[in-house]
């Protein structure tokens, strides 16, 4: 009896109880008083202990395709990063524009966006920000504009693909959308958003982007080849990354789930990296590789999936979907645009992962109203664009923003909430206007 759900819990209506638990957990996540993984796991346990879902049903509710995809990519990126390839790319790109500050801003923004499309956003900024701080210190220019650009472009680039941002991984996995689907439907929008965001950045900070020929010469003396610390690992990593990306592209025709591809890639890279090592060295290397996995994030996902499953089992998600349809009059176009704008504004202030986790079953519940699953496609793209791009609105909108802010603080170039919001909220709105036009022209 996996999906048996209690209707009355502690004398409360099940829907009311589930909503109460979910709202309390959500509020605590927003308050940031307690780690979000702890909260999600506590919420999941309450759902099970209260009888809203059985343990078996709770495990069924966890989307292991999302977990496996995240885990596999975290392992691959963690090992690849040790080769120094990402520093190489950043330095190479800065030298390509002769270390001219405006050119460096554009190049590092584009590199961030491209890397972010293939890697997790947080990982991308963790790799790019230290090199950015090095280059800007050498150029004697403020790092602030560069760091802000990297925040924005990590979130924008991540929107372009299935694996670029957790909301896309969740949507793709839950709905069965492929890597190619995301590239075909979202990448064009992301390219326009990129172009639309670059220009204002230049006008906002053009006065800060000046240096001396001597400083530029110092950067030009950097030897990017020296940044490659392990050429053998680099070859292995690039081979595995190419196989994994190729696997994602061919996944649909091969009928292989993305998590299998990512985990197979991680396993192959671990094997190649450790093949010639002694047993003791292998233990250390494998331990190091697994230590770099963000287990807190993965456990947050597990808890969240169970929490949302409990909410779904109690019928709350169906009720929310009905309310949204009622509010939009059941009109698909209005619903798509409401999801886009609503997701963007909410994602600017709250974590987009629990938000998307809640929205996915809600949108699935709307299928009958829009002629089945095929009719939901624009809604998924609206959710992805809104949730991923919305994270740019405030400093707390996405994990990558907070990571960059933390590094900036330690480097003595703090990024504050209000100044960030003053410039970036408008840039986020601009990206949503572009998305609005894109969705209208292409799907509505």
């Amino acid at each position: 009896m996996h999906n048996e759900t209690a209707h009355v819990i502690f004398g409360w209506n099940a829907a009311l109880f589930a909503s109460g638990v979910f709202t309390a957990i959500y509020a605590l996540i927003i308050s940031e008083k307690i780690n979000r993984a702890i909260l999600a796991l506590c919420g999941a346990c309450v759902m099970i202990l209260a009888g809203l879902v059985t343990q078996d049903a709770a495990i069924d509710g966890v989307d292991f395709n999302t977990i496996g995809l995240l885990l596999g990519m975290m392992l691959i990126v963690g090992i690849t990063a040790r080769s120094g390839v990402f520093q190489y790319v950043a330095i190479w790109s800065a030298k390509k524009v002769h270390a001219e500050p405006v050119g460096v801003l554009f190049m590092l923004s584009l590199v961030t966006a491209c890397l972010s499309a293939l890697l997790d956003n947080v990982t991308t900024v963790l790799l790019i920000v230290p090199v950015t701080l090095l280059i800007t210190e050498e150029l004697k220019v403020r790092a602030y504009p560069y760091l802000i650009a990297e925040v924005l472009f990590s979130n924008i680039g991540g929107t372009a693909t299935l694996i670029g941002d957790p909301p896309n991984i969740m949507i793709g996995s839950s709905v069965g959308l492929t890597f190619n689907d995301f590239v075909y439907h979202l990448t064009p929008a992301v390219i326009v958003v990129l172009a639309a965001t670059l220009a204002p950045l230049y006008f906002l900070w053009r006065h800060d982007l000046k240096t001396t020929p001597e400083a530029r010469k110092r950067v030009m003396l950097y030897n990017e080849r020296e940044a490659i610390t392990d050429p053998r690992l680099l070859r292995q990593s690039l081979f595995v990354l190419a196989c994994v990306i190729g696997g994602f592209v061919a996944a649909h025709s091969l009928r292989i789930a993305p998590a299998t591809i990512a985990l197979a890639g991680a396993a192959l890279l671990l094997l190649l990296d450790n093949f010639s090592r002694k047993a003791e060295e292998q233990s250390q290397a494998v331990q190091k590789a697994f230590a770099e996995v963000e287990w807190v994030t993965l456990m947050f996902f597990v808890g969240l999936f169970i929490l949302v499953h409990g909410l779904n089992a109690a019928g709350v998600i169906r009720m929310m979907a009905e309310k949204l349809l009622e509010a939009t009059g059941g009109d698909r176009n209005t619903t798509v645009l409401s999801i886009l704008w609503g997701s963007a504004i909410l994602s600017a202030f709250i974590d987009n992962i629990p938000f998307v986790a809640t929205m996915i079953p809600m949108i699935k519940n709307m299928a009958p109203a829009f002629g089945g699953d095929a009719g939901l496609l624009p809604l998924w793209w609206a959710l992805s664009l809104g949730a991923c791009l919305g994270g740019n609105g405030t400093l707390i909108g996405a994990s990558a923003n907070l990571v960059v802010a933390g590094l900036a603080e330690r480097a003595g170039q703090p990024i504050r909430f209000v100044p960030y919001m003053k410039s970036c909220f408008l840039l986020m709105i601009l990206s949503i206007i572009v998305s609005h036009i894109y969705l209208t022209l292409r799907y509505l």
Partner: protein, 150 residues
């Protein structure tokens, strides 16, 4: 045996108002790795260490801990660059650089074995501080402890 019995109760110290350059000169002249920082009342404020000198000489990106650059092989550097960085840090108060030390202050009644464990874990020197007044009472290093054995 407690650290109070073996500590050096008249260590070389750096005053809160002194500049980075003075701290650096003292470290260099005495060939020591760290200096306790105190205010005029003798209150312990932190340690000024060789690590702080590295922090002033290295690019910020390399001093961000686990999240910083792990390799600087690709960055050429000259003695002139380093002197320039040292000159920039020179007038800044030494206290600005303190506070990152890994060695915790210990009370005078700390057993020597515990001090040995701390030195094994953290290296450097251990400031012995009165828990009530926060005054620096002395320091314990590897040499004070090994000296009792000789």
């Amino acid at each position: 045996m407690t650290v109070a019995e073996i500590m050096n109760s008249q260590p070389v110290t750096l005053r809160a108002g002194q500049a980075f350059a003075e701290g650096f000169a003292l470290l260099l002249a005495r060939r020591i790795r760290s200096l306790p920082l105190v205010d005029d009342a003798g209150t312990y404020l932190g340690m000024f260490e060789v690590r702080d000198v590295w922090e002033a000489l290295l690019p910020k990106a390399a001093t961000l801990g686990a999240r910083g650059l792990r390799d600087l092989s690709f960055v050429p550097g000259t003695a002139a660059d380093l002197r320039d960085r040292l000159a920039q840090a020179g007038p800044r108060p030494a206290i600005e650089f303190a506070g990152n030390e890994s060695t915790p202050p210990i009370p005078p009644e700390t057993p020597v074995k515990e001090a040995m464990r701390l030195l094994y874990d953290h290296g450097g020197i251990l400031p012995v501080v009165d828990p009530a007044s926060k005054r620096l009472l002395g320091i314990v290093s590897t040499w004070e402890i090994l000296g009792t054995l000789g």
